[in-house]
Symmetry: C2
Subunit: 275 residues, 2 copies
């Protein structure tokens, strides 16, 4: 692990990331020494730092350190945590420099069938709180996701979908959600809660070349009646959904096309050819 | 610093407190080796652990370690952080034992005049998100408080009051709020957001001996038109409020009586005799 560029085994116990979750993180897929979505991760991190008024770390230095840790492995995952350093009290030190931690993670082991034929989801009972000041950011306050993920233990359920306090659908606990309805690709607006995923941004851009794309307020019924559903995540890529509670979905043409696109970048596996 | 009872200088970098804010904390006033509100802190910590399904740490061991660090100093503050230990992914390890960190903090230096004559507050622009699943807990997800405290730098302003997304008053950024209206002591209900303070619980119990006490939904107008206002905090005790934005308040009899009560426990200083 590198902390501010130096090999360390521990974090200072007065770090504000621990005390208050006062920071941000990125989990970045490296493929043989290169990170296909690097620019997206750095854009989101910089935006988050500006929103939280944390010093924006040097991209060049982060890249050098991340590459050093990732090496040239085919499948590497790097986690970057940026905190408002040390300092007591909510006020923090106006002139604090950010603290950057960079560490290796192993690639989550996902059954190839998940990519090929889709996964099963459930609805979570927990409703996400709404905080426009933090919406979209990948910040370190993730207790809601921990609580939501604690709602089930059945390993056959890949992830759970979350609504906000007003009943609008937001995302899965660790992935963004897309649905296809009459050829239009829709994903929840993330102006009140949720994390604006880097894979999500890539998908919105790429899909615009071949279909209509819209960020929208989606209700449970919209998802239940969708033609296609898939999840997106910058490490795992596109994962098609074949079941949501009692509903069944087919692996359709939009999901397939985008699945091939992400898999082509080295992120995730392509879906099956037939549905 | 003690981590699980051993002297350590650093925290494992995969601790879930850092990764997700997946844990709780207590900041406890020790007065010459004793913590007057110890029971309240342990009750809240245990309740929080049960709500988050984190193993409840041994109170006896926490007390022994906290006393070891606090020593017999007249003015000591001990911070306890309990996290769901290490472990990747929101799911966490069902059987993980909690990790306990205990560290010394210095007593915040507050002007004696703050206790004697009251402090000045402002209204914060940030509105707290509402999450009944986390309401009342002193968990590690405190970015909203950091953002709210970042709204002002004027050192003459002691703290800021926060409303929730629906406009109900909740608390200050680092203290609970009480108002007195026609002899009734009122404090915001904390079933949707906020931290249920240990000093707050003590005050609600003690005040019931001499006046009517109620947890209520309070609007800005209720606070603006109050007869008395004060803040409570387990480390700083009762701090009277003399100004909130452009409004002025007197240091009244209920505030005075409760201020003496907390100061009598060694927490904070007594208010001035005259207003």
């Amino acid at each position: 692990v590198l902390v501010d560029g130096h090999a360390e085994t521990g974090l200072p116990l007065d770090d504000r990331g621990l005390a208050y979750g006062d920071g941000l993180f990125e989990t970045i897929r490296f493929v043989a020494g290169r990170a296909p979505l690097w620019t997206g991760h750095m854009t989101r991190l910089a935006r988050g730092c500006r929103r939280l008024r944390i010093e924006v770390p040097s991209k060049d230095q982060l890249l050098a350190e991340a590459q050093q840790i990732a090496g040239s492995e085919r499948d590497a995952v790097i986690k970057i945590i940026v905190t408002r350093s040390s300092g007591r009290g909510y006020a923090g030190d106006k002139d604090a420099t950010a603290r950057c931690m960079i560490m290796a993670r192993s690639l989550p082991g996902i059954d190839a069938n998940a990519y090929r034929h889709g996964v099963r989801l459930r609805w979570c009972a927990l409703r996400l709180s709404m905080q426009p000041a933090l919406a979209g950011l990948k910040h370190l306050n993730r207790l809601e996701q921990v609580l939501a993920r604690g709602e089930w233990r059945d390993p056959r359920i890949y992830d759970g979908l979350l609504c906000d306090q007003e009943g609008e659908v937001v995302s899965a606990t660790s992935a963004n959600l897309f649905i296809v309805r009459r050829g239009v690709l829709l994903t929840p607006k993330l102006d009140r809660c949720g994390v604006a995923g880097v894979a999500r941004a890539t998908i919105l851009r790429r899909a615009a070349y071949f279909c209509r794309v819209r960020e929208a307020r989606l209700r449970v019924d919209d998802v239940d009646s969708a033609d296609e559903i898939f999840l997106s995540n910058a490490v795992r890529g596109i994962v098609p959904v074949r079941a949501l509670a009692r509903r069944r979905f087919r692996l359709g043409p939009v999901t397939r096309r985008l699945g091939y696109t992400l898999a082509g970048l080295g992120i995730g596996l392509p879906p099956a050819n037939g549905s």
